[in-house]
Every structure is written in structure tokens, then in C-alpha cells.
Symmetry: C2
Subunit: 209 residues, 2 copies
């Protein structure tokens, strides 16, 4: 390696989603059912397009449903392991509004995701200033059906949000979310938890004995 | 708001750090003490420069100490709440190596941070493919001295790393790390946990009674 280190990085939504953004911004998102349905639909399109895992997220104005940002998982497309759907949606909402606290200026914004965030995105949601999290489900089905590791979450993960002023809603669109994971799991799509190094270490260690 | 949503975002290291990168890449980082000393030094420079919190991170080759990336907290500079030091260092390492799994191709890379990661960066470290985490300390001092919320971490946070093939070392340079937090806490620098919305909600609720 030479001495020149990277000094910046960027991440973009996939082209198919950029092309659809004007239509999505005009779509009725007044109800939780409509918001979750959009998250499930984009999650399914995303993994089929090869951008990353079967996950999508929206930031909307809680009262009106006005769309502030859309994110999908682009780990494979960007070669950046942190670019989960929630990280994209929260960062793009902050870009659009020009501030790191999405809850400033009286805004009451909601993050909508097709499943409970992994431990990284759990923290990212906590720091971003959204005032609500709405998800289709929270169980181990995502790990069992897809093979992704979601990381260790605190038992009282909802209480930890609510003590920080973030309301949590779970369960609308649960069956549709499961179907997306089932289809992903039945495919040969890449599960991108970084385990190549750990597996190599285990193999080497096993070889020592 | 008009209908045009953001489609990409980027994040850069601050100019003072970019200017120093060639010097840093030539600096001896063979020992844990040298690595932590650099993290503590950059953490202190970072908050004084106004880029964000008093946090810095490096990715180094564990055996040789060759520097792969450097990150500092740029939440304030980027207006993105996720741009903690660890997220910058991990993403910039992935940019430099051109892959989302830093542990692929036999690489044995270490993330060095001036304190235990917050819950978001805990997950980010788990997904990035580094094989080791080295930190100066892990206690509540960071929250007590600086006012930052670090989020709910699992009790067995080290075990959760080690079961995923990530070794953890804690404690070298602890006193110097504390001094950085103490100086930050005694200043009037911004604590960027997003709480404006939550505080407004509490005030409104209190006003109802």
C-alpha cells in the first residue's frame, strides 16, 4: 500500500430508485399501512436489483406523511458495510433538511423500516432526532430466513427508545415483510455480514490442532 | 418542501487532518501505546477545531501498524449524526481497500479508538470485518465528563465481539483519554445528541398539566 489514505466517501441511492423518487414523493403516505407497504415493496426490489440486503427505510413527516427521504441497503453497491437502509434514509433526510438533528425546529419525523433495525441502525436511529420508529416486525425471523446477523440488542430496546422521546410501533405489514425475507433466503443473494476474516481465523486455529 | 429528495451524501475528513495524513502514515505505529496516543491526540485536536466530538479512530494492520485509515467525529462539520470517528475510519478503510469486508483476503486489521464505541459504532465495528478493537477505556467517564449519551450496550459486549472473531483490548492510554474528555466537558463545545425534539415534546407535555 502506498501512503495516500482516503479522505472522503460518498454513497448514492441506486438508479432505479432515483428514477422513481418523484413518483414516490407524490404517493399517498398518510397511513402507517401505506408507509410500511412502500418499505416492503422497496426492500423486495432492492435485493432483486443486487444493491444489497432486503431492507428499505423512509423518513416521513408523522402527521402529513410527506416524504423526507428514502433509503435502501446499498452495502454491495457501495462496498461500505455501514450503508444499511436506515443509515441511508437518516443521512439523506439530514442532507435534505441541512441539519444533524431531525427533531429540531419542531419537526416530528418518523423512520419507517420493513423490520427492526440491527444494533448499528438502532444507535443511528437514537442519534438522528426522529421522534418515532415504525416497523413491520421485530422477531428472529429475519435472521432465520435470511442468514443476516442483527447483533445483540438490549432486552428493553423499546423502552430505551421511549425514554429518549422516540415512540415505537410494531407489526403492521408483518406478513408481507416475512415474504420478502423468505424470497431472499431462497435465492443465492449475498449475505454481507463480514465474516471472511473470522472464518479464516477459525479454520487456521482448527488446523493447529 | 418541494418534491426533490436527496439521492446521495458524502463525508470528508477536516482539512487540518487531510493536511497531516502523509505525516501520520509515516509515523511509527508498531505498538498499541503509539496507536492509542495518536487516537487521543487527534480526538483532542478534533473538538478544538469544531468538527465534532472528542473522538478519533484509526484502522491499522495489526501486525505491522501500517495505517489504513484515520477518522474523527465530523457530526457538526457534515450535519450528519452518524459521522462518528469509527464510522469515518471504517468507511474510509473500505474505500481505500475497495471492499466491504475488511477481513477478506487474509487481512488482520484493528480498529483503534480513544474510548468504547457508542451503540451505533459498536454495530458498525461488528459488520466491518476488522478482527480487533483496541480502546483506551470503556467506563461511564465519557458520559459523565462530556454529556454525550452512548446508548444501551449489552452487558457482555466484549463476549459478543469475541464470539464473532473480534478481539478486544482495553486500557492503554486511559488517563490521557480522560484528560481529553475533561477538557471538552469544561468548554462550551456542542454536545450533538439529538434531543431538541424530545425536549420540546417534554416541555409541551409538561405544559398540558
Amino acid at each position: 500500500m502506498d501512503a495516500s489514505l482516503a479522505t472522503d466517501f460518498s454513497a448514492s441511492l441506486p438508479g432505479w430508485l432515483v428514477d422513481d423518487l418523484d413518483d414516490l414523493a407524490a404517493r399517498p403516505l398518510g397511513s402507517i399501512e401505506e408507509r410500511i407497504a412502500l418499505a416492503n415493496e422497496l426492500a423486495d426490489r432492492n435485493w432483486r436489483a443486487g444493491n444489497g440486503g432486503p431492507f428499505a427505510a423512509l423518513v416521513v413527516d408523522r402527521a402529513s406523511g410527506a416524504l423526507v427521504s428514502v433509503g435502501v441497503n446499498v452495502v454491495l453497491a457501495t462496498d461500505l458495510s455501514a450503508m444499511h437502509a436506515e443509515m441511508m434514509a437518516l443521512s439523506l433526510a439530514q442532507r435534505r433538511l441541512g441539519r444533524w438533528d431531525l427533531g429540531a425546529e419542531g419537526a416530528d419525523l418518523e423512520l419507517v423500516v420493513n423490520w427492526r433495525p440491527c444494533v448499528m441502525c438502532y444507535g443511528a436511529t437514537m442519534w438522528a432526532g426522529v421522534r418515532a420508529l415504525t416497523i413491520a416486525g421485530e422477531g428472529v425471523e429475519v435472521e432465520e430466513l435470511t442468514g443476516f446477523d442483527e447483533g445483540p440488542m438490549p432486552d428493553d430496546w423499546i423502552g430505551e427508545f421511549e425514554r429518549r422521546g422516540i415512540r415505537v410501533s410494531v407489526g403492521v405489514g408483518h406478513g408481507d415483510a416475512i415474504e420478502v425475507f423468505r424470497a431472499f433466503g431462497a435465492s443465492d443473494a449475498v449475505v454481507y455480514n463480514a465474516r471472511a476474516g473470522a472464518a479464516a481465523a477459525r479454520d487456521a486455529s482448527a488446523g493447529d490442532h
